[in-house]
Amino acid sequence: MSARNTIDRLMERTNPAIASYLDACVHCGLCAAACHFYETSGDPRHTPAYKLKPLEKAYKRHKAPFSNLRKAFGLAPPEVSDGELREWQELIYDTCTMCGRCTLACPMGIDIAGTIGVMRTAMFEGGFTPSDLVEQAQRAKDVGSPLGVTPELLAERLEWIADEFETEVPLDKTGAEVMLTASSIEVMKYTESIGSMAKIFNHAGVNWTFSSKGYEATNFGVLSGNGDVNRTMVTRLVDAAEELQVKLVVIPECGHALGALRWTGPNVIGRELPFEVLHISEYLAKLKRDGRLKLKSYGKPMTYHDPCQVSRRGGATKAARELLNGFAQDFRESKHAGTANWCCGGGGGVISISDPKTVDGRLKAFKIKMDQVDDTEADVVVSACSNCRLALDDGAKHYAWGREITNLAEVVAEQLEE
């Protein structure tokens, strides 16, 4: 482990936006109330602004205006140490889902989640990343997916899904206009999500395909801070889409995958994407808008869980509502829904960290989500992120929570008119 590497990387990545954040923070603490980890642990260290402290210290010492003057007068903060960064690993990874809710509470509008993302890249450089995330990121680079989904395994799973769901699941189809990507959680656990998307696309007459060269939408490079893996995962998708010459790449029910390809991907690979990128909720809303979905109405009392990276940080808050509007007959919007929605507690790679303390903290944070949903008295919770669903399922199992948990594509696929 090397604090020096982390500090160097932090200073290299301190762009004007981050500099403005560090100069503007007045340490008012209002962000604490927005954080599900602080709200459930009561630990002041979980205050979002506190999580930025090592960066703030390094910035003041090395890069802030008048930092040399401060050093000359002995007023600069001391150098960030290995010990501090070891302590901060918990704050930057285990108790932050990068949900971005804290920005809403911040009078200065500081993008704390985005800044944590930058801190993670520096933590990785110094060797301060939890081993679970490091390993999953490396596996994704080595074999194609964090859960070990190789191209061969993908082909097998898609064939099985096609049989199981009695629908076509094309792979490497030349001439396709749309390339669908998958989250390995869906390939290995929530196969019904892929089966549902396939059914919907076929129902709507979409000319689509999967690619065996670029299929994994999740990006553990982003979650762990491993820039090399991040670049590799983005490049694979871009290369595959370019080879197939598709016009559109659809991100499946995965939150951070949307930001990783659509919003930060072009900057990571240094060029604009020659195709459009849409999250599945946006694409389904578009198909509905275009009159290509014939749906029977859905009657069960239902509420929608906004995945943070899709709604608040992804810009697709309205898509799910547009899709559900007029279709879900008893749709119940929860308090704080939309941009201010509470996180499931498992985002940002937190659900992949197996440390018992992290799991305990995540499950406590999940209580807020349960309360938010319970207030609606809806029977069904729908999300548009498999990672959220994993967190919801795990939390529900732990607390014996009786709500039905499902995903958007599944609900739509079940209601397709034959």
């Binding site: 205050t47 008048f66 401060r70």
Partner: protein
């Protein structure tokens, strides 16, 4: 040269120079940094997002108000009270007219001064008490927060003491603290009086492009 002449003369000019140069340098430091081009295809306007976030964050988010009401209202009270005092208190207008602008404007009535004073003092004291008593604020605060608060409090206190304009010493004492405050300003977190614009605009622009409003 009397003490008052010194604080309102050479010392004031020096403090104003340090303040202006420091603020300019601080902001130039931000402006001179390269803003990397965002290569993603925008869904919305970055400019509109920046403007929206600039104004939106003036208002407290309804989602957190029940938890944050004390600091929120104390913050409003302090800032609004202080602005009213600085810009609309008769002797301040007179000072600004003589030393800066060459013109003045209508001062606020005496009752307005009393209200503004009470708001500013109450707000600052509540914010400071919260800073020293609340576990979260105690943890995230540093010496810069305390010095900034203390200096501002002393400026306000000496200002009240100098109300009787005939007491030159008290007026000079107020000017002395104002000058010290101005000199300290660019090197401290008091710079948030300017940097809030940058911070909000940066976030607003990023998320505005994404079609989100944070």
């Amino acid at each position: 040269m009397t003490f008052l002449e010194f604080t309102e003369g050479p010392m004031w000019r020096f403090a104003a120079f340090v303040f202006l140069l420091g603020v300019f340098w601080h902001l130039a430091h931000w402006l001179m940094r390269r803003h990397p081009k965002d290569l993603s295809k925008p869904l919305g306007s970055g400019f509109a997002g920046a403007v929206g976030t600039l104004f939106r964050h003036f208002l407290p988010s309804p989602h957190f108000l029940s938890r944050n009401w004390l600091v929120t209202f104390a913050g409003y009270a302090f800032h609004l009270g202080l602005f009213a005092l600085v810009l609309f208190f008769g002797p301040h207008i007179e000072f600004i007219q003589t030393h800066i602008t060459g013109f003045g404007w209508e001062p606020m009535p005496y009752w307005g001064f009393i209200v503004a004073c009470q708001l500013a003092f109450a707000g600052l004291l509540i914010l400071w008490l919260k800073r020293v008593l609340d576990p979260v604020l105690r943890l995230i605060s540093d010496s810069g927060d305390q010095v900034g608060t203390l200096l501002t409090f002393i400026v306000m206190l000496t200002g009240c003491m100098a109300l009787m304009q005939s007491y030159d010493f008290l007026r000079a004492l107020h000017m002395l603290t104002v000058n010290l405050w101005l000199i300290y300003f660019p090197f401290s977190r008091l710079m948030h009086a300017f940097t809030w614009v940058l911070s909000r605009a940066e976030t607003g622009a990023v998320y505005g492009r994404r079609g989100s409003s944070l």
